[in-house]
Symmetry: C2
Subunit: 428 residues, 2 copies
């Protein structure tokens, strides 16, 4: 009988887990440096919580089901909703509240190459401030995280939904909210599809000539001076936030910021500044994205709280790491303890414990195989050093230490071997 996984699911296997762990570790360190507390919101929510902003259409895109008591529940599709619910329901919190989370999410998308129905994201959110200072902080957070991971070529593309809204109202005369939302979703596709494809896709929903004007407007990008110059012809005034934000980011040492009016983000809870982080390989798509979503705490009952944040997908970042920095990985050196003769077996396990007690990663033969098979196993596991113990070594309390790189062997006392291994593994 063959036991398969449900469609779109997968195991995170050791090689990918190791890279994910590197991302998680960099995220935790960045949280500490920036003063974000860590937590994890519940993976299961009442369906009405998940629908609070997006309405019942979200059901089609998530795992939703009835539990045994008939309650409609769903697996979280992002971390923002759960973190916002938590903040809003905790009246004792001191603002600003800065929280981070690294956890798995579920979406009932059609599975594609490299896209699964279960995946990990990191997420950093600031609740309280409505100032752009908090937007600068989360962008700086994302930038610092990627730099810490060794991704040197990160650029941050920044837009502002209010600027697009002002353009739509003043220059095209569109201010009807559902139509604005539809046009934002169309504009959001500009990085992934051509204008022609988008016009066709949306032809039944938005007048193509009007949408085309917006797509032309969305092509405006560059540094802040260039963009302000281009915006003059449209007589738009809601540019103060972006000017302020760019200045703060400069003072924070965040390099490679690009104003890009096509960045509006897909999720409909965003209300102001929005941004995405890319490597030079734009085809990979954004590694992280976020923005201001003051409307979500308001829906949950706290209209007095501002909210802004950033989230990054782990799978794309793993791809970027594999391409750019994975070759520099350094794993800990491994010592494999082999032995000959039944009477040596428990002594070999004693030596393994002794090495581990000294902080030296050690494996010991567990299957009572022949020495030849043990040495084969040590070699297949890429062990750096092999310790060989026979009855003679047991009697004299000595060990044979074999360096797997050059094949050299030395016979020493247990204490000497430990000292030597500590030296050898320190200087690597």
């Amino acid at each position: 009988m063959k036991f398969n996984l449900p469609r779109g699911l997968r195991d995170i296997e050791p090689a990918d887990f190791e890279l994910m762990e590197r991302i998680r570790d960099a995220f935790i360190q960045t949280c500490k440096l920036f003063g974000f507390s860590l937590m994890e919101p519940s993976p299961l929510e009442m369906l009405e919580t998940l629908e609070a902003k997006s309405g019942s259409s979200i059901r089609d895109e998530i795992y939703a089901f009835k539990d045994k008591s008939g309650r409609e529940v769903g697996l979280r599709f992002d971390l923002t909703v759960g973190l916002t619910r938590w903040v809003v329901s905790n009246r004792a919190l001191q603002f600003p509240v800065k929280i981070g989370s690294f956890a798995g999410l579920w979406r009932y998308d059609e599975p594609q190459y490299g896209r699964y129905r279960w995946f990990y994201q990191w997420d950093a959110e600031i609740f309280g401030p409505t100032n752009v200072d908090a937007d600068a902080e989360v962008i700086d957070f994302a930038y610092s995280l990627f730099r810490r991971l060794g991704l040197e070529d990160i650029s941050i593309h920044i837009g502002d939904r209010r600027l697009v809204e002002e353009y739509l109202e003043k220059n095209i005369g569109v201010k009807d909210e559902p139509l604005v939302a539809e046009m934002m979703r169309a504009l959001d596709k500009l990085g992934k599809k051509t204008a022609q494809e988008i016009l066709e896709e949306y032809s039944s929903k938005v007048e193509p000539s009007i949408l085309n004007q917006l797509l032309e407007f969305g092509k405006i990008s560059g540094d802040i001076e260039e963009v302000l110059n281009r915006l003059k012809e449209y007589h738009l005034t809601s540019t103060t936030t972006l000017i302020d934000l760019v200045d703060l980011l400069k003072h924070r040492g965040v390099k490679n910021t690009v104003i890009d009016l096509s960045i509006v983000r897909g999720l409909d809870y965003y209300t102001g500044v929005v941004f995405e982080a890319f490597t030079n390989d734009q085809a990979l798509g954004a590694l992280a994205g976020g923005g201001r979503y003051d409307i979500l705490p308001a829906i949950f009952g706290r209209p007095d709280l501002g909210a802004t944040g950033v989230a990054g997908g782990v799978d794309r970042t793993i791809l970027a790491l594999k391409k750019e920095v994975a070759s520099t990985t350094q794993r800990e050196p491994l010592i494999y303890i082999t032995y000959v003769g039944k009477e040596v077996r428990s002594f070999a396990q004693h030596i393994a414990s002794t090495l581990r007690g000294e902080g030296l990663p050690a494996e010991v033969e567990l299957m009572e195989r022949s020495l030849r098979k043990q040495l084969e196993a040590a070699s297949k596991r890429n062990s750096d050093y092999v310790i060989i113990i026979g009855p003679k070594e047991l009697a004299s309390n000595r060990l044979i230490l074999k360096n797997m790189k050059d094949g050299r062997e030395e016979v020493r006392s247990v204490a000497e071997t430990i000292d030597l291994l500590k030296q050898l593994t320190k200087t690597r």
Copy 2:
């Protein structure tokens, strides 16, 4: 509108998350020392996979539902089943396979105080060996993990299901498998309930006089010599494994091992040596448990593979840490940067980035509050140092550094302040 969580669910809030992170970190370090690879199996499985050993009765205890294509799926209730499925379906693996996982699980239990329907476990498994060497390795793993966490009073209670089976057959004449399984489940309750309660609970399923004999047998515990002595009267022969195991554990430096024949474990995939780890506070229940389950790889199609492992619940270990070692926690010192005057704002953010770039955890005022409110906020966040920057400091490129412990203030250049903070935070 109030947005509640589904019954039995919860958020893992910052205080608990911090302790969970300490456990996770100790687990990862122990995996490295012992040479276990890390991975995470899928959180969603086909229901038939989850039912492979336990049969359809498991449906009542887990989150099971139909996905949108009508497939019956379920959220994992342990990590062992998923890890076994993964190992069995990967023909290229070299044995022994040693893997660890730290992840969330779901069970549709009746929620109780301190018991939730979603919780974290760590898990370490060895596939391949049928030798007791592998059982010794996973017990040593658990013991080492708890010692690393600072839990000094861990004792390991060890039983062997085959010994109980031999007793039932030879001394009571019971060898019918469903009845044996039922009696094992009754015996498993001995640590949590009195014999009288168990006899009543099982009176409709097992003849009380027979069950009572087993419960008396289950009370046998002590060091290996004592237990062997007691077992003489029953003429049992399947004691070799336990004798061998105890000897290996002694050589590995695992202290406080107790042979305890009431340990049989609840899940019905166990087939041999089983064990549980306790602190001195037995009322807390076992912090970890495990044993040999060769039958599970056989069900998944690899009868040639042995399997043994150990898993620990995070919630109970958090309780133990809170009681025994949490007071020794040392968080990183936090520096809060306050400023006076709009023109100083971006310089303050620049200083925050500079400190973080030097590895110093820093917060910067994001809400443009008055200096009094900023200092209040810094104090409420238990900041260790506050930097104050006004127009005069901006002009002279100097910073006021205030030590929150003694209230002393010093005015220094930026470079001098960084050097001082590095010294101060290093010597803590």
